[in-house]
Symmetry: D2
Subunit: 476 residues, 4 copies
Amino acid sequence: MCGVFAVCGTPEAAKTTSVGLHHLQHRGQEAGGIVSFEGEHFYEHREGGLIGRIFNKSVVARLSGTAAIGQVRYSTSGVKHEDVVKQARDAQPMLKKILPFGTVALAHNGNLTNAKTLQLELALTGKVFETQKSDDEMIDTEVALMLIGAAIEPTLVGRLKTVLPLLEGAYAFIVMTSKQMIGVCDPLGIRPLMLGRYKGAWMLASETCAIEGLDAEFVRPIQPGEMIAIEDGKITSHTFSVKQPSRLCIFEHIYFSKPDSTLEGKSVMQTREALGRELAREASIDADIVCAIPDSGNYAALGFSQESGIPFAFGIIRHHYVGRVFIQPPDERDRDISLKHNIVRAAVQGKRVVLVDDSLVRGITAQRIVARLKRAGAREVHLRLSSPPWQHGCYYGIDEANVHRRVAKPYENVAVVCEHVCALTGADSVAYLSVDGMYRAVHGEPRNSTCAQSCDACFTGRFPTPLTDRCGGRIH
Amino acid sequence: MCGVFAVCGTPEAAKTTSVGLHHLQHRGQEAGGIVSFEGEHFYEHREGGLIGRIFNKSVVARLSGTAAIGQVRYSTSGVKHEDVVKQARDAQPMLKKILPFGTVALAHNGNLTNAKTLQLELALTGKVFETQKSDDEMIDTEVALMLIGAAIEPTLVGRLKTVLPLLEGAYAFIVMTSKQMIGVCDPLGIRPLMLGRYKGAWMLASETCAIEGLDAEFVRPIQPGEMIAIEDGKITSHTFSVKQPSRLCIFEHIYFSKPDSTLEGKSVMQTREALGRELAREASIDADIVCAIPDSGNYAALGFSQESGIPFAFGIIRHHYVGRVFIQPPDERDRDISLKHNIVRAAVQGKRVVLVDDSLVRGITAQRIVARLKRAGAREVHLRLSSPPWQHGCYYGIDEANVHRRVAKPYENVAVVCEHVCALTGADSVAYLSVDGMYRAVHGEPRNSTCAQSCDACFTGRFPTPLTDRCGGRIH
Amino acid sequence: MCGVFAVCGTPEAAKTTSVGLHHLQHRGQEAGGIVSFEGEHFYEHREGGLIGRIFNKSVVARLSGTAAIGQVRYSTSGVKHEDVVKQARDAQPMLKKILPFGTVALAHNGNLTNAKTLQLELALTGKVFETQKSDDEMIDTEVALMLIGAAIEPTLVGRLKTVLPLLEGAYAFIVMTSKQMIGVCDPLGIRPLMLGRYKGAWMLASETCAIEGLDAEFVRPIQPGEMIAIEDGKITSHTFSVKQPSRLCIFEHIYFSKPDSTLEGKSVMQTREALGRELAREASIDADIVCAIPDSGNYAALGFSQESGIPFAFGIIRHHYVGRVFIQPPDERDRDISLKHNIVRAAVQGKRVVLVDDSLVRGITAQRIVARLKRAGAREVHLRLSSPPWQHGCYYGIDEANVHRRVAKPYENVAVVCEHVCALTGADSVAYLSVDGMYRAVHGEPRNSTCAQSCDACFTGRFPTPLTDRCGGRIH
Amino acid sequence: MCGVFAVCGTPEAAKTTSVGLHHLQHRGQEAGGIVSFEGEHFYEHREGGLIGRIFNKSVVARLSGTAAIGQVRYSTSGVKHEDVVKQARDAQPMLKKILPFGTVALAHNGNLTNAKTLQLELALTGKVFETQKSDDEMIDTEVALMLIGAAIEPTLVGRLKTVLPLLEGAYAFIVMTSKQMIGVCDPLGIRPLMLGRYKGAWMLASETCAIEGLDAEFVRPIQPGEMIAIEDGKITSHTFSVKQPSRLCIFEHIYFSKPDSTLEGKSVMQTREALGRELAREASIDADIVCAIPDSGNYAALGFSQESGIPFAFGIIRHHYVGRVFIQPPDERDRDISLKHNIVRAAVQGKRVVLVDDSLVRGITAQRIVARLKRAGAREVHLRLSSPPWQHGCYYGIDEANVHRRVAKPYENVAVVCEHVCALTGADSVAYLSVDGMYRAVHGEPRNSTCAQSCDACFTGRFPTPLTDRCGGRIH
């Protein structure tokens, strides 16, 4: 997962972009990059770490210009100092010289499911590639730029209309040249891209929170299969695929997006409360308090409390100063020390606790917290997840390490999954929200089995695009 | 404000101390230091920044030993890179060679109100001082060590019994020599110091959360005027002043301490909920939702909601990746951009909002949030503070910049203060908790005017110790 | 100017390469890079700064493998910290994926005079380029790799035979794949590339000093138009151009190469002494001592002293701790403070000084030293340069800033140049070595006007290759 | 060994000091520090590393003021990054608050031989000390400041007159207060301190090269037992001990001082040439060339060549980019790779070489170079040292590690020492300059056995001061 942001038509484009990316930091903490254009030159800076540290005054001062695009990248743990330079190489936006357009910068959020196949085809015709051992997103980006270079249409919009239909998967692209800013959303709208406006400036961002966090006006989402081109302050809209209903990633509602963002016309925070209320209806339990695994479970927990009438309590405190922590707990094995969450003993002692989180992938955090709740004297702990079992992984931009280590296996039914999670975490009971419950909370109606209203492949295994690189093109 | 931690009798003393200090990080983000002792040598490391970054594997590996003490220091904004070396000089623990004890390390939380007077007296007798332009806490610490050196008793406990009665103010000291670990609490117990135990190891910490965050057992607080000496795994208790009732700083309950700590037998989080309930009783208002300024106002807001029946909502989202942020919003004046808090528009639009925080010093955050709530469509915003006006400042270890910039002036009555805060923040109404309401929530009864149960000088102006350096020794 | 080094067939290839590059550090101080291959993976590290600082133990430990190539790059002054990341991007070796060879790494020393023309042609056929605003050497390298990708021969040697004849200019390439190490020298042998051997390992280096500095055996130079391929420990030699007499850059003898290197069978140091002796014969003068501008002029000064009988003296001391110095002299204008050279007053006071340097480009150093010699009491200062006026610049890899700021203009005769230099430096007399004198010292005979024995374009304006990018292909 | 510098009465005192320290860098490469005073405040900066890197523009800009003092410290090898903070603590100048003078800064070059005894005495009277495990120089400095604090005279000059006679050993102090700058030289003038002048500004420096490197005028050395006080631009001279003949450290002539400095009226470089000439007279040998171990042996080698008529050659090249080098040669044992010196094979092949250095302490460098000369084909190598065997070590500020690892033992006669060095280095013959030869070169006459003209304790074992800390006060 990543986040992208762009602005054009404002005197401090890089500064605005740094704030926009700061608001998208939850979508990627590994590295960040900004490319700006000031009428003649492009300026670039990429670095490992958090936006708030990278783009200090002197760095931003070098990135002059009235247009800029940027990206934040997913965090992998344990990055050591000597890897910073390497990270910077892999960070986006990527810049290439392409005739007749000159420099073309591209920032990408998502994953192409046929990028390696396309790369092989291009390589067989003698193209050379920059990246070795780089991650998928860099290959995607270079393949897209190579295809733009190889296309023959005279305009960039024309070339994109030729190139984009060759790409499979989920993607949001922002492209910047000396003339234009272009925003692209994949044909099914799986990855979000939002249009905003502030006075004469246009913005593109992965989420509305970045636009509203800049006190700008959220205009509308880019539509599935739509390409927006901004030139001389004017917007034109183009389509590059047959019109299809949107299948926005449902995990954006559940986990990815920030609670203060708006998706498909709904407040993410309110959707999460609704997920908690559905969960309370489906999986009620007799208990004394509802606690969230903070902060991800806060909203569903409040919704659960509202629906069930069981009081909400701040029984688990999230440490403020987490981020990249290099300290380590002492080695003795019988301690189970968390550097991230603490229990409020007085709040849970002797209580039956409903413990709510939005989802469960590897189960490590839930396992630790259940153990610590019990040690703090909780009488019972009932784990409630406000989404279905995450059984099928994702090929549209999620860290594969998580896919491989997920608890819920594709072939298991929910009861078996719950049993495993009970055993793993030590919870007294475990329940997941159903697929239809999730749809009711998000869309107000159950899943439409003819044409699902969202991409829900991670829960259902129904992937809405071919997965050419992996399995030769099955469509679900 | 600072935090101190110590452990002795465990094979990984510095590692344990780094985790302990990490749990005390909310008490100081400027710098951290650890001194360890391994039977022959002392090892030391101090650096600017967060504990989780400073004490990485290789730094901790150098700090070998079975005993260690450490400190975290208060954060001042805008520290630049070139100041890191300077900070490191000023960080604690301080080490001195004192005969016949050899190396003596001291970590201090609090403030002596006669340190400058004592320093002058010592200097007049020919003593030379290390620190120039250093902060008060460093002067305190050096003065204390100088007095220990000048005393003539043969034992360190004996010298402390002579020296401590000379000190005025609020302090918690941890002293480490090659033989002993000593913990000291000031005669009124204004600054907290807690004793913990893990198997054969003893711990001292500013708060219980650091002890319990290490899965160790909280034994008891050090008493007012008590000195605990640990030697060869055994504890002895000594007193150095006439017994007086405890007057623990009431702001520890309200703001300083972590919600998962325990103070005077009570859960800090539950006390804060109780403050919110008292506030709801004293300053009720007809409204649609209760929102906290997160995370400081969370618990009082929930208490307010419980008592008033007005639903609690997460209307304001705190950015996770704050810490030291170097980016800056674009310069245009008409935007009021926050890098720290975002509003969930859908949650507040058209609503009458009770906005709860634990206290109000300068009012800047409240001002911004009220403005942004209104812009997001909140119909009314009623600001409720779960403590009385912070009118008198503090001379026991609080950043003086805050004292000077406080909104509430000593000579104003509450109604006038509320008027000013209304004008400043743009809130539709403002109310503070009363002093007696605060005491009811914290102690279960109103303020005892003969002998207040806490130090509440910042609210009442009644300072419980002489303020010799400032005013020649008035006692309230 | 740059330096390249490679080794294969040794267990610590990156370590060996780091030492080899350290010995080539005089050829480039801006940045360094190493790419290693360990049977399956390639590892890379590039960074701004000196080799001795970049390739510390932990960096080298990551670069595992039995084959490695590296490069050092030219120093530009005043690089600030925030540019380090940018430099790392531009540093070599460059890595590309090229089918069917997989990863191909290339390090380059020299300059192609038709790289921009070739880049334009490739771009017109739809190729996209990585580098924007990068320096010439990066464009050269990418163009070469693109051409290799576009060629159709099945082997890399075969492709290079097709591609290299398309390149104009002066170059030494080292190419590494998972199978082969290839060393290439341009058709005229303008840039040097040396072959060395240590037990079973082969080495390639810009100079013999890097080979002998590793106590390895210098085997022979790569010949003009020769390509050496090393595979499975065996060497094969290939040619890619019609055989032509070598025209090695004569400035390698005069200035570029390290005095302990061997070029065209001669010791560089001894050649420089010979240049000094020729100079003494051509431009004798009555004086008391011969001083060098250290360390570049040391050897010619000693030769001048030997031939003239005027005693050699260390009258000017070079500061050891120069490198990147960020301090600045106080601002007052009437001081002419050098941070690099000091005068030994007692050695020069009242003396007539012959001041010898190997060449004079901008004249700044000579100007300062003459002024300081006079201030220290030197009676006369006679500047003697052991090469002809550097009038025509260079298009084969020399920093263009120097070309533009050179004192000697192409249209001036030597007498006029000497007059200008006298006026600029304040020397009492100035003399340059003649072109034929230079050839006598280097080759034992005057310049062969039919076919010069060296590339001497910077002195004569006779460029031995087309300069397509600049002037559409004039050949001299 | 260290270097000190001070200036007062100039608008850019810290800038001037940074350049002055840069010229003294050969006296200490571990760390540097500057303290400035601008009329009201003192500013300070200390850091590990080279002056040219530490005192960049922004650091110097913070050190405002018209007076400044600074120090450079001895280099120990292999300092890792995490030790930088520790170094900074130990770096000088040291600052203390001392009534009635306020802040007092002190920079020290030398070593007190009774500092630990004095420290113990002070500690026994209840004084506490800052430094634990610090080096001797920091203890010296703190002891001196403590004594100043404990003295009772009303003026600083008065207190120094009381305090300095208590100190034994070799020292040059510079003291700065808000009012005065004071320079002190020990009673025997063992450590040098020079007075300079530039317009209205006064300078103090360990060597004249720092004064002349700033184009200032060298006025005179501070005399043995003299104290210079500068106040309001005026100088007064005071004495604090009975007048004794100077016994300046003779190793300053031989090795410590920079060749462009002047000592006791003589050019250091010319003295070193004279040492080489004496050596040629005493230890002539039939040979083909004279080579120096560069750069330390350069001047004596030239002198040897002048006297013997054997030609001087640059047969060994010193690497420019040494400083702190973190790369390491490959591990195989049969290579003897130097990162510091290279041999010019053509210059030495088949030759009988006289190899000259100024002194020999551990013999490691000589051993490596002899081996490499032989491998490069030198027929014979005759090692000649332009000073006597360094048999007795030094207690006046030399790195003790060197003392312990010296080759020449106190009880050996010269013939035995030469045999050992022959065996160690593999040289064909070894000869040292005699003590009287050394005195002839330095003073124009043999050693005066009644009262030696220099401190020559390292060669003769005759220490001119008590060594109280070590041996209870023997005086030689």
